[in-house]
Subunit: 244 residues, 2 copies
DNA sequence: AAATCCGTTTGATCTGCATCAACGAGACGG
DNA sequence: CCGTCTCGTTGATGCAGATCAAACGGATTT
C-alpha cells in the first residue's frame, strides 16, 4: 500500500487513538488493491477474513435472498466496512461490490482481533465504532418500518440538503436505481415518488434535486434526529465513518 | 440488588470475563427495581443514563414516529439492552416498556464507560457483544427488505421450531399483536398470513403453532443462516444474549 | 452518423398489505 | 352471573407499491 494512505487511515475514528506501533504493525499486514467497477469484493456467507477500507471510489453493500437483492449501504472514502463480521470471525452477512473503480485496503481480521486485545485504546475505538454502526442500522430499520416509501424519499432529500448546509439544490450522489434499492423500493416507485413530491416542494432535473419549498418538504419528510441522524451519515451504516 | 442476581449476570457474555473487582464495582453502582406490566422504562430521545438488564419478565423495545409505532425487539431474561446508546452517551433510539411484570437492573452508563477503559477483558466482551447486536439488526433489516410478510411469518415459525429442537409444535412466546409488529405487519395481516400458511404445513390452535408439514413450511420460509441465525436469537437484537 | 446499450421514466395492471368496521371469545371485575 | 374489556379473527374496501411492458434520452460504440 502507498505510504500516503496511512495518514488518511489514521484520521479515521477507528485508528486515530491507537499506539503508533500497533498502527504501523496493522498497516504492515495490510494489502491494497484497485478494482474495476461492478466487481464483487465480498460474497455474503463467506468467512470474514479481511476488514476493508475504501480509499477511493464507491462500494455498495448488498444482500440477496432467493432471487431478490437489496442495497444495505453505500460506502465512500475514507471508511471501513464489515467490521462486525471480522470481529466475530463469522460469515459476512452482506456482499460488497464496487460501484465505480475503487481502491481498497484490506486488513486481515486476525491481526485486527489480535490488536484490540493488546491495545486498549484501539479496543475503545472499536467499541465506539461498532456502536455507531449499530445505531445506523437501527435507524435504517426504523425508517423502513415507520415510514412509507414516499416519506423515505422526502426524508432522504431533506437529509441530504441539511448535510450540504441546507442547500436548496444538490446532485444525487449515486444512481437512482441504487438509491431506490437503498431506500427499500423499486426504481419505478422511486421515480413516481419524486414526481409526486413536486406538489411538496421538490423538483428534479436529471440527477439534480431542487428544493422549491423547504417548509413543505419538511412537513412531508418529518425529519427526526432518531431516524435521520445527525449521529452518523445515514445509509453508511456498514462503514467506519463519523467524521472529524 | 439481590446477592443471588450477581451469578446470573456474571454468566452473561458481557460480564463473564471481566475481573472480579471490576464486576463487583459495577454491581455496587447498580440499582434493581421491579416494574408492573406496560410501564414505559425508557423513552426514545432521552439521554442514555443506564444500561438495563432484565432479570425477570419481558421487555419490548419499540420506536415511534409521528403517530406510528413499531416493535423493534423483545428482550427476555437474562439479557442486557440498549448497550450502544450507553456507550455513545447519546439519546436512546428506541423506547422500552415492560410486557409483563419485570425485574430490571440498571447500571449507570458512566460506570460502564469507565470500566471498559480500565478492564481490557471487559472491553473485548463489549466489542463482541456489540458485534452481535449489530449483526442481529442487520438480519432484521434484511428480513424486512427481502421477504414478504407471509415469508417472514413462515421463517419465524420455522426458526422457533428449530430453536425448540425441530419441535413440530410450540407456543408463541408473546402476544400476536406484538409479534406482528416485530415482524413488521398489522395484527390482521399476521392472522391472515398464518391462515394462508395452512396450505403450507402450518396449523394454529390459540397460541399453539403446529407444524403439519415441515418440508412444505421450509419451502415457503426459505430459512437462511444469514437472516435467521443461528448466530444469535432473532428478534432480540437490542439485547445482550448469545448465552449458553 | 447510425446503431446499440443502459438507466430512467411513463403507463397499465395486479397484488400485498393496511385500514375500517364488526364480531366472537376468553379474562376480569363488579 | 353478567357486563365490560381486550385480543384475535373475519370481511369489505382502498391504497401503496410491485410488476410488466414500452418508450425515451443520453452515452458509447461501430
Amino acid at each position: 500500500m502507498r505510504e500516503e494512505d496511512k495518514p488518511e487511515i489514521r484520521k479515521l475514528l477507528l485508528f486515530r487513538t491507537m499506539s503508533p506501533e500497533n498502527f504501523e504493525r496493522l498497516m504492515q499486514a495490510a494489502y491494497a488493491h484497485s478494482f474495476p467497477a461492478q466487481l464483487e469484493l465480498i460474497r455474503q456467507g463467506e468467512p470474514a477474513d479481511f476488514l476493508h477500507i475504501v480509499m477511493e471510489g464507491t462500494v455498495e453493500l448488498f444482500s440477496g435472498w432467493r432471487d431478490r437483492e437489496t442495497a444495505m449501504a453505500v460506502v465512500r472514502p475514507v471508511s471501513t466496512f464489515i467490521l462486525a463480521a471480522c470481529i466475530k470471525d463469522a460469515p459476512y452477512l452482506m456482499s460488497a461490490r464496487t460501484v465505480e473503480k475503487s481502491r481498497i485496503i484490506m486488513i486481515p481480521s486476525k491481526d485486527l482481533r489480535a490488536t484490540f486485545r493488546l491495545d486498549p485504546e484501539f479496543a475503545v475505538s472499536t467499541i465506539t465504532e461498532l456502536a455507531n454502526c449499530y445505531r445506523s442500522v437501527v435507524r435504517h430499520a426504523k425508517g423502513l418500518k415507520l415510514r412509507t416509501s414516499r416519506e423515505r424519499v422526502a426524508a432522504y432529500i431533506y437529509r441530504q440538503s441539511s448535510i450540504a448546509g441546507n442547500a436548496v439544490s444538490f446532485v444525487l450522489p449515486m444512481e437512482k436505481r441504487l438509491l431506490a434499492s437503498l431506500l427499500g423500493m423499486t426504481p419505478e416507485n422511486f421515480s413516481r415518488a419524486i414526481k409526486s413530491l413536486q406538489s411538496d416542494g421538490v423538483a428534479m432535473d436529471g440527477m439534480r434535486i431542487i428544493i422549491t419549498n423547504m417548509k413543505l418538504l419538511e412537513a412531508v419528510a418529518g425529519p427526526d434526529a432518531l431516524i435521520d441522524g445527525p449521529d452518523t451519515n445515514a445509509g453508511h451504516f456498514g462503514s467506519g465513518l463519523t467524521g472529524p
